[in-house]
Amino acid sequence: MSARTPQARTEARWGAIFAAPALLLILTILLAPLVVLVALSVTDYRLGAIALRLVGFDNYAAMLADPVLQRSLRNTFLYVAFVLPAAVFGGLGVALLVHARIHTRTVYEVIYFLPVTSTLVAMATVWQFMLHPTLGPVTPLASTLGFGRIDLLNDPDLALGTLALIGIWQLIGFNMVLFLAGLSAIPRELYEAAALDGARHGADRFLRVTWPMLGPTTMFVTVTSTVTAFKVFDTVVVLTRGGPLGSTETLLYILYLEGFQYFRMGYAAAMTVVLLVFLAGLSILQARVIERRVHYA
């Protein structure tokens, strides 16, 4: 460092000056809230309280013993396990079909993308009407088909699955757009080379060209879909409020209740930290695993 020439020092100083605004923004907007969150998680802070007390890891210990939290974790995992594969492979399937359209492609793109552009809260109201046991069309339709008079949102065995279907309905359009972009980026010559090589069957073309070339897209879609599914919230609030019998209580919904209904901010903060660590870990894991099989051409 001492061997630096005056020019190098000047350059370094200017470099620091130019980088400072961006650094400041990163600190205040992205990192400071995290620090505050972690700090809150070791206190008993209640929203609006004047004093707060350090409680160490008590909040984290409480989580281990909290049956509501554990139930919500189980529900969330179930939800993700249901939504993730359907949203990823459903999105891929729809994208493959839409990509093959020539003249009607834009029409289908818009139709499938509509659920993404409409706010989920507003659409949840529509779903509420559709699934209403006496007003909506779904229950009579189900009974005509021989399923009996089912009430999808008020049956503890079916409510979570129903929310998952709505989650899939919303994610597929978004994933389709991402997969479509990935499909468009595959060089046409690869398919032509495959045609000359004798890959006449669709399965061969898919396995030799499409699927490997979609690797980066699939990774991105999987990670974003996982995060979205873990953060399921709006449909729960609007449609079930965690019920019936807590069967649709999800992690973020519990977190919201603790923080903004019961005002136990310290505890909510601890839960948020856990959720964050969990999601970050999961994303890194997925990236690592898939990265090994992905080829960025």
């Binding site: 060089p187 010559e189 690869l190 032509e192 080379a193 495959a194 045609a195 000359l196 090589d197 004798g198 890959a199 006449r200 069957h201 399965a203 061969d204 396995l207 030799r208 060209v209 490997p212 070339m213 690797g215 080829h295 051409a297």
Partner: protein, 397 residues
């Protein structure tokens, strides 16, 4: 040398026409390519040469016309059933597979059933390991021919451009096709490698002895590698012939301009009715039988011009020497004609000729250029070559 084949066993194109939307890309192209021939389709970009190749491959369907390969009409056949292999400009290697897997693909597609190619399910096939061993032995043999045996475990992104090129060649060779199609295969390589690969491709053709149809926009590739060249422009074949035919007897001005580097000098002139053409007041005795006043375009190859003494016997163009380029063995003299037009003109001479001309004091700013009639071509107003017999015909008109 490739063994001479017959047209019936080669590739026959008849009446091929193709339009994309309202753009006509090919208009009534007919071409008979003999088995074992190295035919190059050359022309400026957008002339339809690649589309023609893709129609032969079956990647594109012609609007009209027919393709026959080996005496069999293939218009209704998918690409892999036409007994052709193709090397793409981008090589189009599968990026997630090793070189060996890339080369093996055409054989796997042919020798394994669909189930034997599917992941997991393929493990159930008892004969798959045996078939794959056979395939890999052939892959290795092809790789050794192309000197890439040590690269077989690498993926395309770990290979240089030239190595990828060889893998692409291997993938095409391994199935022993009847016809080898190449779409600008060398244009992504750097200049030195391109020259090297040019001779390798020519050697490969000699060794395999099969029909090569090669598309390029580079007239040097066309001239150096082919047994015959089809020069295309705007969806038509302007001239089909050996490289020497195209160079020495260009059928049209467009052919003359396209073939040859540096390009042919193009001068405007007028026949004087007594066997001569006047260019900027100089009379060249090259137009037997043209009627007086006939406007002609004169093409003079750069090597048909020599610096000469002003008292030289034959026809001499007077020019002003602007710039001299030393290419080592050759020199390029860039000059402009002395007349009002200041038409640029290029002269190519050997280093020895340049030295001799320098000693004789012929390379001053005012330069005299002797014209050798053998490198001189006459074209009518329609751009068509005026040959000896045609000159008489035009003159009789």
């Amino acid at each position: 040398m490739p063994k001479a084949g017959t047209v019936a066993e080669g590739v026959v194109l008849s009446g091929i026409a193709k339009s994309f939307g309202r753009t006509r890309v090919l208009e009534d192209v007919g071409l008979a390519i003999e088995a074992g021939e190295f035919l190059t389709l050359v022309g400026p970009s957008g002339c339809g040469k690649s589309t023609l190749l893709r129609i032969i491959a079956g990647l594109e369907a012609a609007d009209r016309g027919s393709v026959a390969i080996g005496g069999r009409t293939v218009d209704h056949l998918p690409p892999d059933r036409r007994d052709v292999a193709m090397v793409f400009q981008s090589y189009a290697l599968y990026p997630h597979m090793t070189a060996a897997q890339n080369i093996a693909t055409p054989l796997e597609m042919r020798r394994l059933t669909l189930a034997e190619r599917l992941p997991l399910i393929r493990l159930l096939s008892p004969r798959r390991p045996r078939v794959m061993r056979g395939i890999m032995a052939e892959v290795r043999a092809v790789a050794e021919t192309l000197q890439i045996a040590h690269l077989l475990d690498r993926k395309p992104d770990q290979l240089s451009g030239g190595q990828r090129q060889r893998v692409a060649l291997g993938r095409a060779m391994v199935r022993r096709p009847r016809v080898f199609l190449m779409d600008e295969p060398l244009s992504n390589l750097d200049a030195a490698l391109r020259v090297h690969m040019r001779s390798e491709v020519a050697e490969l053709h000699a060794r395999l002895g099969i029909t090569f149809i090669y598309v390029t926009h580079d007239q040097v590739e066309a001239m150096t590698m082919s047994s015959r060249v089809a020069l295309m422009d705007r969806g038509r074949i302007l001239q089909l012939g050996t490289p020497a035919d195209l160079y020495d007897r260009p059928a049209t001005l467009a052919v003359a301009r396209f073939i040859g580097s540096p390009p042919i000098n193009v001068l405007e002139g007028e026949a004087d009715g007594a066997g001569g053409v006047r260019i900027d007041g100089v009379r060249l005795p090259i137009a037997d039988g043209l009627a007086a006043g006939t406007r002609v375009t004169v093409g003079i190859r750069p090597e048909a011009l020599r610096p000469a003494s002003p008292r030289h016997d034959g026809p001499v163009l007077r020019a002003r020497l602007r710039r001299v380029e030393n290419l080592g063995a050759e020199w390029m003299l860039h000059a402009t004609l002395a007349g009002a037009g200041e038409t640029p003109i290029v002269v190519r001479i050997t280093a020895a000729e340049r030295d001799a001309a320098g000693r004789a004091g012929l390379l001053s700013e005012e330069i005299a250029l002797a014209v050798a009639p053998s490198g001189t071509h006459l074209f009518g107003a329609d751009g068509v070559r005026i040959g000896v017999r045609q000159r008489e015909a035009v003159g009789a008109r």
